[in-house]
């Protein structure tokens, strides 16, 4: 089980990489130059990974799922505020239209992917009830 949860974290990191590269691609390519297909592909990849991870969270046993929900929920609030401030920075310097839409999509994916990574890592250590002694661990 521990190994399975670890693989969810690894998959989540792949999604984070896709979202971050997609964001860099958008800011380094002016609206009239960059390929929309590259942006779409990277955002789609990050989206697929996020969906996979959200489905994977449903397969966790009860204690792990409880911790996943607790940690990823708190992290989601923090990362939503954080990405909101970053989006404000992009908006303030005049990024609008399609570029802003892609950046907003990348930021949203980022804000949702990071909490799942943190949630899965915290869930890995929640395999037994708190009252159970340490010797009982795998």
């Amino acid at each position: 089980m521990d190994r399975t949860v670890k693989s969810f974290t690894t998959v989540g990191v792949a999604g984070l990489v896709a979202a971050v590269i997609s964001g860099i691609y958008v800011v380094t390519h002016p609206a009239d130059r960059g390929s929309i297909y590259v942006q779409l592909l990277l955002a789609l990849l990050a989206q697929i990974v996020l969906m996979f991870n959200l489905r994977s969270a449903e397969t966790l046993d009860k204690p792990r799922r409880h911790r996943f929900n607790l940690v990823s929920g708190i992290a989601l609030v923090g990362y939503t505020v954080r990405t909101g401030i970053i989006a404000l920075a992009f908006f303030t310097v005049g990024i609008r239209g399609g570029r802003m839409a892609f950046l907003a999509l990348d930021l949203a994916l980022y804000a949702m992917t990071v909490p799942t990574i943190i949630g899965f890592t915290a869930a890995r250590t929640a395999s037994i009830a708190p009252s159970e002694p340490a010797e009982g661990r795998q």
Binding site: V13, L16, I85
Partner: protein, 197 residues
């Protein structure tokens, strides 16, 4: 003789707040100042936020990865969880705040100074910094921060598992080392950009 793998000192969980109220207030204050800086487009305030946030981020990574990390890993389990219970809740709030200040203020500052435009002499350094910042972000958010959170949950348990804490702390320190090295690259790029002005 006790050492890092010595668990004979009867490990027991430690009571502490993972997220402190005073820490959250400081984060909220920083966020407000950052929003004011972004909306006002005040170059001095943006410089303060970008340079101050960046310096905090870099110093923390280098210090954790190369100074405190090795010391922490050499401690007994009890000493390690005692230090971790004080250090990690602060890191949990401090790091994302410093990173957000650095990136958001830096983007606005770079745009106002024209450095993010392809024709600018600083542009290639700016693009290189995006990639280093991406390495920093992925390492910090994919490895360091999850390990930080997981250690805190583990040491709060009545009987924390020394192996789990040891493994997560090693991961935490390793990630901080990678970040420290990438931070030196960022320092070189940023000082190069500053010298072009």
């Amino acid at each position: 003789m006790s050492g890092p793998n010595d668990v004979s000192d009867a490990p027991t969980g430690i009571e502490f707040d993972i997220i402190s109220r005073s820490g959250l207030m400081a984060v909220a204050f920083s966020a407000v100042v950052l929003i004011v800086g972004i909306r006002s487009r005040n170059l001095w305030l943006l410089q303060v936020l970008h340079v101050g946030g960046g310096a905090t981020w870099m110093v923390l990574d280098v210090f954790l990865g190369f100074v405190l990390g090795p010391i922490l890993n050499a401690q007994t389990f009890t000493a390690r969880i005692s230090i971790a219970s004080k250090l990690l809740p602060k890191m949990l709030l401090l790091m994302p705040t410093a990173v957000t200040m650095t990136l958001a203020a830096g983007w606005v500052l770079g745009s106002l100074l024209g450095n993010t435009q392809p024709g600018s002499p600083a542009y290639r350094y700016i693009v290189a910094s995006y990639f280093l910042a991406a390495i920093l972000e992925v390492t910090a958010l994919g490895f360091l921060q999850p390990a930080n959170v997981a250690v805190m949950f583990e040491i709060k348990q009545p009987h924390p598992n020394p192996e789990v804490v040891g493994s997560l702390m090693k991961r935490f320190v390793f990630a901080a080392r990678v970040l420290g090295i990438a931070q030196i690259g960022i320092l070189l790029l940023m000082t190069r950009i500053a010298s072009l002005a």
